[in-house]
Subunit: 358 residues, 2 copies
């Protein structure tokens, strides 16, 4: 099997030096993966040819499996979606996405600005029936491993139907990226008791319970679509790893994730300040620093880079704009895992099931 | 000046052993306070007389300034608001709140369950004109000191008007508890740019900007009502201390605060696990532990205990149900600070201003 991945070479804060090195790192990353080890990979780079080729010159092995497609029109970090849409045909990002629509590539990876990327991928690639706008999931560390939290900001106000779609798509994603057979799904709420929350979260909970019931007959089948709804979860359950998937609207999801980022930043700041204030603690820090380094490794956001746009029936992966080559390689790995999985068919089956229930 | 504080002796997880010891600790706490040092304080305890008096027997000084009012009907942690309302006249909590309505006490402090406490205080005490339901604020540590975040779950879905009221009341609270002359207010959103967010947060932002403009003439007056709106803030700005007050709806606020709790829990768990896994790190932990203890002191939730119900025109303070005596004493201190301030008049002025603008 051969996987072709379209890369927006120019996106993000650094452009070709990071995206090209990232692709080079990804070659090894895929080789080491238990499921992707035997897979051949090819890259299509989109952007300013000269700048890309200078970087490719540093990695002869990568250059062998890469093609470069030139354009001078670059989607910038500040560009409004409407402006990016005007250049869907001749921009780095538009062309990269188009190559997936044209079946010249199996997936696209870009670190471009989220608004432009979502808008272009929605217009160029098809969305699933009933899905208006893709959702953005995050992969996060927790006490039991990793979990998927969605949505992260693309859908600020969510109907019952939309939250239900998030739950089904998030569950399908967890099967691929967390490698779980029957991932558990929680709906984020202000309490775990049945009567908690506003009308939309209440109604969504009831539908998810219904889907859980209806799919219990599939529990024995390996390829079944058994959906395991845990019920409501609270903000602190994200890190406790109570469920594999945590579903919420884009407003709460964005605020919760950024609040968590802030808490971690604050904690490291307190540690630094405390240690700086005392000679004894400065000496002790010889012992503290390796502990902190080990923790930073566990929560290193680079490890969790690569958000799959959920709702498209093709694979588009968003890398963080500030990603370095190591982080960008992780996003490429996510794209490869998605291509090799039955994700698209899985989501279709699930959404079909939903329309049958309603 | 003498302040009388009504205490629900039975509320919370522990009852009289904690609430009575807490009151005793509060005596010293108030004495040490720069603003409350000269103030005489009296306590009215409500609950099972025998159990309260056993505890009071341990603190003769406290017993001298305390009166006990007996009742056998106790509002439990599990009790539904509707059940508590049936016993507004003869329950520990109902009687304690009633003593404030009857001007026998200046404020009430209770660790009873939030639903029952909110319901009873709304019915027994008056709410301000236009306020439907009190909001619950949290005091939090941040990189610059402390901030006030509201709402924490009492109001899940918020209209523009309600969010605006939260902003005005939160600002008035920050003047008292954070001792700031002109606290800055931020509205929690998914981005800090003007065009971000859904319709309600957008419209609220516009009204708060308008109030900021209209009150600029007050900026020179010490007792003015200059309202300083910073604009939108994001989740990570809470800990960065970008503003003194952070306003959001109860759904997002609850989720964000619990997500932060979870992040801090996870961080300490990673530290413990990492140190346990290595002998070298166990030795180093001799140095790490005092650093961690110092950090725990900064973020000790007991220091931030005492949530003032916002929207009542009397002072009612909610202590955490799991509070120990030290934490309960903090909630009593908050009540005393509120009584001594011009908070009620301040909020009235602000809400008046709001109805003039509209």
């Amino acid at each position: 099997m051969c996987i072709t991945i379209a890369l927006d070479a120019m996106g993000g804060d650094f452009g070709p030096p990071v995206t090209v090195e990232g692709a080079n790192l990804a070659i090894d990353l895929l080789k080491k993966s238990s499921t992707l080890g035997g897979v051949r990979v090819e890259f299509l780079f989109f952007g300013q040819k000269e700048r890309i080729e200078v970087e490719l010159g540093k990695y002869p092995k990568l250059a062998e499996i890469s093609k470069v497609f030139h354009t001078d029109f670059i989607v910038t970090n500040e560009m409004k979606p409407i402006e990016a849409l005007r250049h869907r045909g001749d921009s780095n990002l538009g062309m990269a996405i188009q190559s997936v629509a044209d079946k010249k590539a199996d997936a696209v990876v870009s670190a471009a600005n989220t608004g432009a990327y979502i808008a272009l991928s929605k217009v160029i690639l098809e969305t699933f029936h009933l899905i208006d706008r893709p959702a953005i999931p995050a992969i996060m560390p927790n006490a039991n491993g990793r979990s998927i939290v969605l949505d992260l900001g693309a859908n600020l106000e969510c109907s019952v139907e939309r939250l239900t779609q998030f739950a089904l798509m998030g569950e399908a994603l967890a099967r691929v990226l967390l490698k779980k057979n029957s991932p558990s799904v929680g709906l984020l709420n202000v309490g775990s008791e049945e009567m908690k929350g506003h009308a939309i979260v209440q109604a969504t909970g009831q539908i998810l319970h219904l889907i859980d019931e209806k799919t219990q007959k599939y529990s024995k089948k390996e390829d079944g679509i058994r959906f395991h709804f845990h019920g409501f979860v609270e903000g602190d359950d994200i890190f406790k790893g109570v469920t594999d998937v945590v579903v919420t609207d884009g407003f709460s999801g964005n605020i919760a994730l950024k609040a968590i980022e802030g808490a971690i930043w604050f904690f490291f700041k307190l540690l630094r300040d405390t240690m700086r204030d005392s000679i004894i603690w400065r000496i002790a820090s010889v012992g503290v620093l390796p502990v902190l380094r080990s923790i930073k490794k566990t929560i290193d956001p680079r490890l969790y880079n690569g958000a799959v746009f959920l709702g498209l029936n093709k694979i588009a992966v968003k890398s963080h704009g500030g990603a370095d080559a190591f982080a960008f390689a992780q996003a490429i790995k996510v794209a490869a895992q998605m291509v090799q999985s039955d994700f698209i068919e899985d989501v279709e089956k699930r959404l079909q099931l939903l329309s049958e229930i309603q």
